[in-house]
Symmetry: C2
Subunit: 197 residues, 2 copies
Protein backbone atom coordinates (compact mmCIF):
# COMPACT_ATOMS: atom_id res chain seq x y z
CA UNK A 1 0.00 0.00 0.00
CA UNK A 2 1.45 3.36 -1.03
CA UNK A 3 1.16 5.57 2.05
CA UNK A 4 0.11 8.59 0.01
CA UNK A 5 -2.25 6.76 -2.33
CA UNK A 6 -5.30 8.87 -3.02
CA UNK A 7 -8.51 8.21 -4.92
CA UNK A 8 -9.89 11.34 -6.61
CA UNK A 9 -13.32 11.41 -8.15
CA UNK A 10 -13.23 13.87 -11.02
CA UNK A 11 -16.06 15.12 -13.10
CA UNK A 12 -17.10 18.00 -15.30
CA UNK A 13 -20.76 18.88 -14.90
CA UNK A 14 -23.33 21.48 -15.84
CA UNK A 15 -24.39 23.87 -13.07
CA UNK A 16 -27.47 21.70 -12.58
CA UNK A 17 -25.24 18.69 -11.89
CA UNK A 18 -25.40 16.63 -15.08
CA UNK A 19 -22.38 14.97 -16.68
CA UNK A 20 -24.12 14.02 -19.94
CA UNK A 21 -27.52 14.22 -21.57
CA UNK A 22 -29.77 11.17 -21.19
CA UNK A 23 -28.42 9.82 -24.49
CA UNK A 24 -24.83 10.23 -23.22
CA UNK A 25 -23.98 13.24 -25.40
CA UNK A 26 -21.72 15.99 -24.13
CA UNK A 27 -22.08 18.56 -26.91
CA UNK A 28 -23.17 21.16 -24.30
CA UNK A 29 -19.65 21.08 -22.83
CA UNK A 30 -18.53 23.45 -25.60
CA UNK A 31 -19.64 26.56 -23.71
CA UNK A 32 -18.87 30.01 -25.10
CA UNK A 33 -18.29 31.95 -21.90
CA UNK A 34 -15.44 34.23 -20.93
CA UNK A 35 -14.45 35.04 -17.38
CA UNK A 36 -11.57 37.51 -17.65
CA UNK A 37 -10.64 37.23 -13.96
CA UNK A 38 -10.09 33.48 -14.37
CA UNK A 39 -6.85 31.60 -14.95
CA UNK A 40 -5.82 30.53 -18.42
CA UNK A 41 -5.45 26.82 -19.07
CA UNK A 42 -2.09 26.66 -20.82
CA UNK A 43 -0.86 23.49 -22.57
CA UNK A 44 2.15 23.00 -20.28
CA UNK A 45 -0.06 23.09 -17.21
CA UNK A 46 -2.40 20.53 -18.75
CA UNK A 47 0.53 18.28 -19.70
CA UNK A 48 2.08 18.42 -16.22
CA UNK A 49 -1.32 17.82 -14.65
CA UNK A 50 -2.07 14.77 -16.80
CA UNK A 51 1.43 13.40 -16.15
CA UNK A 52 0.69 13.51 -12.40
CA UNK A 53 -2.13 10.96 -12.78
CA UNK A 54 -0.91 7.39 -12.21
CA UNK A 55 -3.99 5.51 -13.35
CA UNK A 56 -7.60 5.99 -14.36
CA UNK A 57 -10.69 4.11 -13.24
CA UNK A 58 -13.97 4.50 -15.09
CA UNK A 59 -17.33 2.88 -15.68
CA UNK A 60 -18.24 1.27 -18.98
CA UNK A 61 -20.47 4.12 -20.18
CA UNK A 62 -17.69 6.65 -19.68
CA UNK A 63 -15.36 4.31 -21.52
CA UNK A 64 -17.81 4.09 -24.42
CA UNK A 65 -18.00 7.90 -24.56
CA UNK A 66 -14.18 7.98 -24.70
CA UNK A 67 -14.25 5.41 -27.52
CA UNK A 68 -16.78 7.58 -29.33
CA UNK A 69 -14.52 10.63 -29.05
CA UNK A 70 -11.64 8.64 -30.47
CA UNK A 71 -13.78 7.31 -33.33
CA UNK A 72 -14.78 10.90 -34.14
CA UNK A 73 -11.17 12.00 -34.38
CA UNK A 74 -10.99 13.78 -31.03
CA UNK A 75 -8.31 11.38 -29.80
CA UNK A 76 -7.96 9.16 -26.75
CA UNK A 77 -7.99 11.32 -23.63
CA UNK A 78 -6.01 9.03 -21.29
CA UNK A 79 -2.70 8.62 -23.11
CA UNK A 80 -0.75 5.49 -22.17
CA UNK A 81 -1.71 5.79 -18.53
CA UNK A 82 -3.14 2.51 -17.17
CA UNK A 83 -6.92 2.67 -17.44
CA UNK A 84 -9.23 0.30 -15.58
CA UNK A 85 -12.74 -0.07 -16.91
CA UNK A 86 -15.43 -1.50 -14.64
CA UNK A 87 -17.68 -3.70 -16.70
CA UNK A 88 -19.25 -7.11 -16.96
CA UNK A 89 -19.88 -6.55 -20.66
CA UNK A 90 -17.69 -7.52 -23.63
CA UNK A 91 -16.25 -4.23 -24.91
CA UNK A 92 -13.60 -3.45 -27.54
CA UNK A 93 -10.20 -2.86 -26.00
CA UNK A 94 -9.05 0.58 -27.16
CA UNK A 95 -5.36 -0.03 -26.46
CA UNK A 96 -2.89 -1.99 -24.36
CA UNK A 97 -3.20 0.39 -21.42
CA UNK A 98 -6.87 -0.62 -20.94
CA UNK A 99 -7.78 -3.38 -18.47
CA UNK A 100 -11.34 -4.58 -17.90
CA UNK A 101 -12.43 -5.44 -14.38
CA UNK A 102 -15.66 -7.18 -13.40
CA UNK A 103 -15.10 -7.66 -9.66
CA UNK A 104 -15.73 -5.57 -6.57
CA UNK A 105 -14.83 -1.89 -6.68
CA UNK A 106 -13.17 -1.86 -3.26
CA UNK A 107 -10.99 -4.80 -4.26
CA UNK A 108 -9.89 -3.02 -7.44
CA UNK A 109 -9.07 0.18 -5.59
CA UNK A 110 -7.17 -1.58 -2.84
CA UNK A 111 -5.11 -3.31 -5.49
CA UNK A 112 -4.43 -0.02 -7.23
CA UNK A 113 -3.51 1.69 -3.97
CA UNK A 114 -0.68 -0.80 -3.56
CA UNK A 115 0.94 0.38 -6.79
CA UNK A 116 -0.25 3.88 -7.58
CA UNK A 117 -0.42 7.19 -5.74
CA UNK A 118 -2.70 9.39 -7.78
CA UNK A 119 -5.72 7.28 -8.74
CA UNK A 120 -8.17 9.25 -10.83
CA UNK A 121 -11.78 8.12 -11.18
CA UNK A 122 -13.11 9.61 -14.42
CA UNK A 123 -16.79 8.70 -13.88
CA UNK A 124 -19.47 8.17 -14.54
CA UNK A 125 -22.41 8.67 -12.24
CA UNK A 126 -22.91 5.07 -11.18
CA UNK A 127 -19.27 4.53 -10.26
CA UNK A 128 -19.16 7.90 -8.47
CA UNK A 129 -22.26 7.05 -6.45
CA UNK A 130 -20.97 3.62 -5.44
CA UNK A 131 -17.58 4.99 -4.45
CA UNK A 132 -19.11 7.72 -2.33
CA UNK A 133 -21.67 5.39 -0.78
CA UNK A 134 -18.94 2.98 0.24
CA UNK A 135 -16.53 5.61 1.55
CA UNK A 136 -13.85 4.77 -1.03
CA UNK A 137 -13.11 8.34 -2.15
CA UNK A 138 -10.44 10.65 -0.74
CA UNK A 139 -11.06 13.70 -2.88
CA UNK A 140 -13.68 15.11 -5.21
CA UNK A 141 -12.65 17.36 -8.07
CA UNK A 142 -15.83 18.92 -9.40
CA UNK A 143 -15.68 21.25 -12.39
CA UNK A 144 -18.79 23.30 -13.14
CA UNK A 145 -19.46 24.61 -16.64
CA UNK A 146 -21.52 27.78 -17.14
CA UNK A 147 -24.66 26.16 -18.54
CA UNK A 148 -27.89 24.54 -17.36
CA UNK A 149 -29.00 21.55 -19.44
CA UNK A 150 -32.17 20.75 -17.53
CA UNK A 151 -31.98 16.96 -17.63
CA UNK A 152 -29.39 14.23 -18.03
CA UNK A 153 -27.21 11.76 -16.17
CA UNK A 154 -26.50 13.16 -12.70
CA UNK A 155 -22.98 13.06 -11.31
CA UNK A 156 -24.00 12.40 -7.75
CA UNK A 157 -26.16 9.42 -6.94
CA UNK A 158 -28.19 8.63 -3.89
CA UNK A 159 -26.23 8.14 -0.67
CA UNK A 160 -27.26 6.30 2.47
CA UNK A 161 -25.93 9.06 4.71
CA UNK A 162 -24.52 12.59 4.54
CA UNK A 163 -20.90 12.91 3.44
CA UNK A 164 -19.26 15.93 5.10
CA UNK A 165 -16.56 17.54 2.97
CA UNK A 166 -13.64 19.89 3.41
CA UNK A 167 -13.24 22.57 0.76
CA UNK A 168 -9.59 22.30 -0.32
CA UNK A 169 -9.40 24.58 -3.34
CA UNK A 170 -11.44 26.82 -5.62
CA UNK A 171 -10.24 27.79 -9.05
CA UNK A 172 -12.00 29.83 -11.70
CA UNK A 173 -10.85 29.53 -15.31
CA UNK A 174 -11.06 32.13 -18.08
CA UNK A 175 -13.49 29.80 -19.90
CA UNK A 176 -16.05 30.34 -17.12
CA UNK A 177 -15.42 26.87 -15.67
CA UNK A 178 -15.11 26.71 -11.88
CA UNK A 179 -13.17 23.85 -10.34
CA UNK A 180 -13.91 22.88 -6.75
CA UNK A 181 -11.74 20.44 -4.87
CA UNK A 182 -12.98 18.76 -1.70
CA UNK A 183 -11.61 16.20 0.70
CA UNK A 184 -14.10 13.65 1.99
CA UNK A 185 -14.06 13.95 5.76
CA UNK A 186 -13.72 10.29 6.64
CA UNK A 187 -13.39 11.35 10.29
CA UNK A 188 -17.02 12.48 10.17
CA UNK A 189 -18.35 9.77 7.83
CA UNK A 190 -20.87 7.36 9.19
CA UNK A 191 -19.70 3.77 8.84
CA UNK A 192 -20.14 2.67 5.25
CA UNK A 193 -21.98 -0.61 4.74
CA UNK A 194 -19.72 -3.68 4.49
CA UNK A 195 -18.33 -4.41 1.03
CA UNK A 196 -20.42 -6.70 -1.11
CA UNK A 197 -18.34 -9.40 -2.69
Amino acid sequence: MKPDAKVTLHMVASLDGFIARRDGSVDWMATADEYPAGATLDPEFVEAFLASIDCYVMGSRTYEIALGFEANGAGWAYGDTPTFVLTTRELPRARDSVTFFAGDLAELLNGLRAEHENIWVAGGGQVAAELLRRGLVDEISYAILPVLIGDGIPFFGRLDADAPLHLADVKAWSSGMVELRYQVRRDLLQQPPPARS
Copy 2:
Protein backbone atom coordinates in the same frame (compact mmCIF):
# COMPACT_ATOMS: atom_id res chain seq x y z
CA MET B 1 -40.37 49.62 -15.34
CA LYS B 2 -37.11 50.35 -13.49
CA PRO B 3 -34.40 50.22 -16.18
CA ASP B 4 -31.98 48.38 -13.89
CA ALA B 5 -34.52 46.00 -12.40
CA LYS B 6 -32.96 42.58 -11.96
CA VAL B 7 -34.37 39.24 -10.87
CA THR B 8 -31.82 37.13 -8.98
CA LEU B 9 -32.47 33.53 -8.14
CA HIS B 10 -30.62 32.75 -4.94
CA MET B 11 -30.16 29.44 -3.24
CA VAL B 12 -27.91 27.63 -0.83
CA ALA B 13 -27.43 24.00 -1.79
CA SER B 14 -25.41 20.93 -0.95
CA LEU B 15 -22.67 19.98 -3.44
CA ASP B 16 -25.08 17.41 -4.87
CA GLY B 17 -27.59 20.17 -5.61
CA PHE B 18 -30.24 19.79 -2.90
CA ILE B 19 -31.79 22.72 -1.04
CA ALA B 20 -33.55 20.64 1.61
CA ARG B 21 -34.08 17.03 2.56
CA ARG B 22 -37.24 15.37 1.26
CA ASP B 23 -39.04 16.37 4.48
CA GLY B 24 -37.95 20.00 4.02
CA SER B 25 -35.35 19.98 6.78
CA VAL B 26 -32.14 21.96 6.45
CA ASP B 27 -30.22 20.75 9.51
CA TRP B 28 -27.33 19.71 7.20
CA MET B 29 -26.68 23.39 6.45
CA ALA B 30 -24.77 23.66 9.73
CA THR B 31 -21.52 22.40 8.22
CA ALA B 32 -18.34 22.37 10.27
CA ASP B 33 -15.75 23.16 7.62
CA GLU B 34 -12.99 25.75 7.63
CA TYR B 35 -11.40 27.16 4.50
CA PRO B 36 -8.69 29.54 5.74
CA ALA B 37 -8.14 31.12 2.31
CA GLY B 38 -11.80 32.17 2.19
CA ALA B 39 -13.33 35.52 3.04
CA THR B 40 -14.92 36.11 6.43
CA LEU B 41 -18.60 36.92 6.51
CA ASP B 42 -18.67 39.91 8.84
CA PRO B 43 -21.91 41.31 10.24
CA GLU B 44 -21.59 44.71 8.53
CA PHE B 45 -21.19 43.06 5.14
CA VAL B 46 -24.28 40.94 5.76
CA GLU B 47 -26.27 43.96 6.87
CA ALA B 48 -25.28 46.04 3.83
CA PHE B 49 -25.99 43.10 1.55
CA LEU B 50 -29.46 42.49 2.98
CA ALA B 51 -30.24 46.22 2.79
CA SER B 52 -29.51 46.11 -0.96
CA ILE B 53 -32.41 43.70 -1.56
CA ASP B 54 -35.62 45.55 -2.46
CA CYS B 55 -38.05 42.66 -2.28
CA TYR B 56 -38.23 38.89 -1.92
CA VAL B 57 -40.23 36.37 -3.91
CA MET B 58 -40.62 32.80 -2.69
CA GLY B 59 -42.72 29.70 -3.02
CA SER B 60 -45.04 28.50 -0.30
CA ARG B 61 -42.75 25.67 0.90
CA THR B 62 -39.86 28.06 1.37
CA TYR B 63 -42.21 30.39 3.23
CA GLU B 64 -43.27 27.55 5.52
CA ILE B 65 -39.63 26.74 6.24
CA ALA B 66 -39.10 30.42 7.13
CA LEU B 67 -42.15 30.29 9.42
CA GLY B 68 -40.70 27.18 11.04
CA PHE B 69 -37.40 28.93 11.71
CA GLU B 70 -39.25 31.82 13.30
CA ALA B 71 -41.35 29.47 15.44
CA ASN B 72 -38.15 27.79 16.63
CA GLY B 73 -36.67 31.09 17.76
CA ALA B 74 -34.26 31.55 14.84
CA GLY B 75 -36.05 34.75 13.76
CA TRP B 76 -37.56 35.94 10.52
CA ALA B 77 -34.86 36.10 7.85
CA TYR B 78 -36.40 38.78 5.60
CA GLY B 79 -36.75 41.77 7.93
CA ASP B 80 -39.37 44.33 6.89
CA THR B 81 -38.48 43.94 3.21
CA PRO B 82 -41.60 43.32 1.08
CA THR B 83 -41.96 39.55 0.64
CA PHE B 84 -44.21 38.00 -1.99
CA VAL B 85 -45.26 34.41 -1.45
CA LEU B 86 -46.54 32.39 -4.39
CA THR B 87 -49.36 30.20 -3.20
CA THR B 88 -52.91 29.16 -3.83
CA ARG B 89 -53.17 27.82 -0.26
CA GLU B 90 -54.40 29.60 2.87
CA LEU B 91 -51.28 30.29 4.92
CA PRO B 92 -50.69 32.28 8.10
CA ARG B 93 -49.39 35.77 7.37
CA ALA B 94 -46.13 36.16 9.29
CA ARG B 95 -46.14 39.97 9.20
CA ASP B 96 -47.32 43.04 7.34
CA SER B 97 -44.49 42.86 4.83
CA VAL B 98 -45.83 39.54 3.49
CA THR B 99 -48.16 39.49 0.47
CA PHE B 100 -49.67 36.32 -0.98
CA PHE B 101 -49.97 35.98 -4.72
CA ALA B 102 -51.87 33.27 -6.59
CA GLY B 103 -51.55 34.51 -10.17
CA ASP B 104 -49.01 34.09 -12.93
CA LEU B 105 -45.33 34.38 -12.03
CA ALA B 106 -44.45 36.57 -15.04
CA GLU B 107 -47.23 38.98 -14.12
CA LEU B 108 -45.95 39.23 -10.54
CA LEU B 109 -42.37 39.83 -11.64
CA ASN B 110 -43.34 42.42 -14.25
CA GLY B 111 -45.28 44.26 -11.57
CA LEU B 112 -42.31 44.11 -9.20
CA ARG B 113 -39.90 45.28 -11.90
CA ALA B 114 -41.89 48.51 -12.14
CA GLU B 115 -41.18 49.34 -8.51
CA HIS B 116 -38.06 47.51 -7.40
CA GLU B 117 -34.52 47.14 -8.68
CA ASN B 118 -33.05 44.23 -6.77
CA ILE B 119 -35.66 41.46 -6.78
CA TRP B 120 -34.47 38.43 -4.91
CA VAL B 121 -36.07 35.02 -5.45
CA ALA B 122 -35.41 32.96 -2.34
CA GLY B 123 -36.65 29.60 -3.67
CA GLY B 124 -37.64 26.95 -3.70
CA GLY B 125 -37.06 24.39 -6.38
CA GLN B 126 -40.44 24.66 -8.11
CA VAL B 127 -40.31 28.44 -8.37
CA ALA B 128 -36.69 28.32 -9.53
CA ALA B 129 -37.51 25.77 -12.22
CA GLU B 130 -40.49 27.73 -13.51
CA LEU B 131 -38.55 31.01 -13.60
CA LEU B 132 -35.68 29.43 -15.49
CA ARG B 133 -37.97 27.56 -17.87
CA ARG B 134 -39.78 30.78 -18.72
CA GLY B 135 -36.66 32.93 -19.09
CA LEU B 136 -37.63 35.24 -16.22
CA VAL B 137 -34.29 35.20 -14.40
CA ASP B 138 -31.44 37.69 -14.88
CA GLU B 139 -28.95 36.24 -12.41
CA ILE B 140 -28.35 33.09 -10.43
CA SER B 141 -26.59 33.25 -7.09
CA TYR B 142 -25.73 29.69 -6.16
CA ALA B 143 -24.01 28.98 -2.85
CA ILE B 144 -22.55 25.51 -2.39
CA LEU B 145 -22.03 24.07 1.10
CA PRO B 146 -19.30 21.48 1.70
CA VAL B 147 -21.53 18.45 2.19
CA LEU B 148 -23.28 15.74 0.15
CA ILE B 149 -26.73 14.79 1.45
CA GLY B 150 -27.54 12.16 -1.16
CA ASP B 151 -31.22 12.93 -1.65
CA GLY B 152 -33.65 15.80 -1.21
CA ILE B 153 -35.40 18.62 -3.01
CA PRO B 154 -33.29 19.67 -6.01
CA PHE B 155 -32.68 23.35 -6.68
CA PHE B 156 -32.77 23.03 -10.42
CA GLY B 157 -35.77 21.53 -12.11
CA ARG B 158 -36.23 20.20 -15.60
CA LEU B 159 -35.84 22.73 -18.39
CA ASP B 160 -37.15 22.54 -21.95
CA ALA B 161 -33.86 23.79 -23.40
CA ASP B 162 -30.29 24.56 -22.37
CA ALA B 163 -29.73 27.85 -20.55
CA PRO B 164 -26.27 29.26 -21.35
CA LEU B 165 -24.77 31.28 -18.49
CA HIS B 166 -22.03 33.83 -17.97
CA LEU B 167 -19.88 33.35 -14.88
CA ALA B 168 -19.91 36.76 -13.17
CA ASP B 169 -18.26 36.08 -9.83
CA VAL B 170 -16.77 33.36 -7.64
CA LYS B 171 -16.34 33.82 -3.93
CA ALA B 172 -15.08 31.33 -1.37
CA TRP B 173 -15.92 31.88 2.29
CA SER B 174 -13.95 30.81 5.35
CA SER B 175 -16.87 28.52 6.25
CA GLY B 176 -16.13 26.39 3.17
CA MET B 177 -19.13 27.81 1.32
CA VAL B 178 -18.53 28.76 -2.32
CA GLU B 179 -20.77 31.36 -3.91
CA LEU B 180 -21.11 31.39 -7.70
CA ARG B 181 -22.86 34.20 -9.50
CA TYR B 182 -24.04 33.78 -13.08
CA GLN B 183 -25.92 35.93 -15.56
CA VAL B 184 -28.45 34.12 -17.71
CA ARG B 185 -27.43 34.74 -21.32
CA ARG B 186 -30.79 35.79 -22.72
CA ASP B 187 -29.01 36.55 -26.00
CA LEU B 188 -28.37 32.81 -26.39
CA LEU B 189 -31.60 31.55 -24.84
CA GLN B 190 -34.01 29.67 -27.03
CA GLN B 191 -37.44 31.31 -27.07
CA PRO B 192 -39.25 30.43 -23.84
CA PRO B 193 -42.75 29.01 -24.23
CA PRO B 194 -45.53 31.63 -24.08
CA ALA B 195 -46.74 32.53 -20.58
CA ARG B 196 -49.60 30.47 -19.25
CA SER B 197 -52.24 32.65 -17.71
